[in-house]
Amino acid sequence: MGEITGGWLTTREQENSVVSKETALLEYILRLGDNALILGHRLSEWCSNGPVLEQDIAIINISLDQVGLARNYYKLAAEIEGGDRDEDYYAYRRDVFDFKNILMLERPNGHWGDTIARQFFYDTYHFFVLEELKNCADERIAAIAAKAIKEVAYHAQFSAEWVIRLGDGTEESHTKMQKAIYNVWEWTGEMFETNEIDGLMEKANIAPNMVEIKNLWDDKVSQVLEIATLKKPEDGWHQTGGKMGVHTQYLGLILAEMQYYPKSYPDAKW
């Protein structure tokens, strides 16, 4: 992989860097993969800890879909990079600064309402992005997206219904859900942030226009929150860094757990 990570570059240096379309494509695919893997790993922590058995099963099914999706993107990245890389390389052999997932997805799960708030905001975004990606100019990405959107439609329905159940539930669930929405809000802005890579990919008819995605997302989110009797927070300053490889402390902890085995026993086979 070339010198593109930009984790330590200033904005001006990034603006002046010249990124080839191939490098941008790889970076874009890895971002998609990293979002899926890190969220999938986070959700897997609910396994055996769900509030009731059915929801435990539901959330880890969603987790499984995410991990499977990450595998598809990583396989494609390996194919583009060539050599002896495979999907496991990207999951297990990279460090914090190599991961380009958005920060929201690496945050701890919190209580069920916190997880649902994050999931609702992300699923809604993910659905609209996949809807565009399935018709994008890169056939390989389009194939992955066309497959994933069938599953993500179930996720988006699940998380939106939970927001409504909790928001329009008891006084306690309403209060907790509203707080969860406020807490996660400042982390949602990064989903729509664009930089050089997005720009190049949009020009190549691969990445969707994020302004349009944001509009679709705003409409859906407003609609669901209204039914849920919850207030939609105002847009303001938002957290950022993930797309450049600058992460919260939590990603390191995820990787420490997720990569423990392959790091302790490199190339172990069973």
Binding site: I57, A58, N61, L69, A142, Y154
Partner: protein, 161 residues
Amino acid sequence: MKSIKDIYTLLNEVKDPEIPVLTVNDMGIIRDVNWNNDVLEITITPTYTGCPAMDLIESQIKEELDKHDLKKHSVLTTLSPPWSTDWITEDGLKKLEEFGIAPPVKGTADKRALFAEPPKPKCPYCKSEKTVMISAFGSTACKSQYKCKSCLEPFDYFKCI
């Protein structure tokens, strides 16, 4: 050299590890069988993105081919067009129901709709139509959990994608 038709027949021996009554043909996951010179190429497609059974299915296909002395083979995977429950054969749907899994109901409601009316499969045990969804997610990626209000048995429903 075995004919393509013979190869398909032979693949009837490979079952879905999670639903052992269904063959890979019943599932509609074999997308192509083709002789590339003397190499037999079999193209499969995953049902669900994260389906952990895919790797096992691939190795079972290879084993089956080895058993029939078809040593030169390769199993390829394709994602496009994406697998749909509509590809399960009529025979497969019948076997699912006999196995105790309600087969997918065609023309399922739009999943983008909130609180969309979930599909109403028949109870695979008592055939009652009074069934209710417990959760859209079930014991494997491809199933939902249901309950029959007549015989009170819980059952799996193979959900539409």
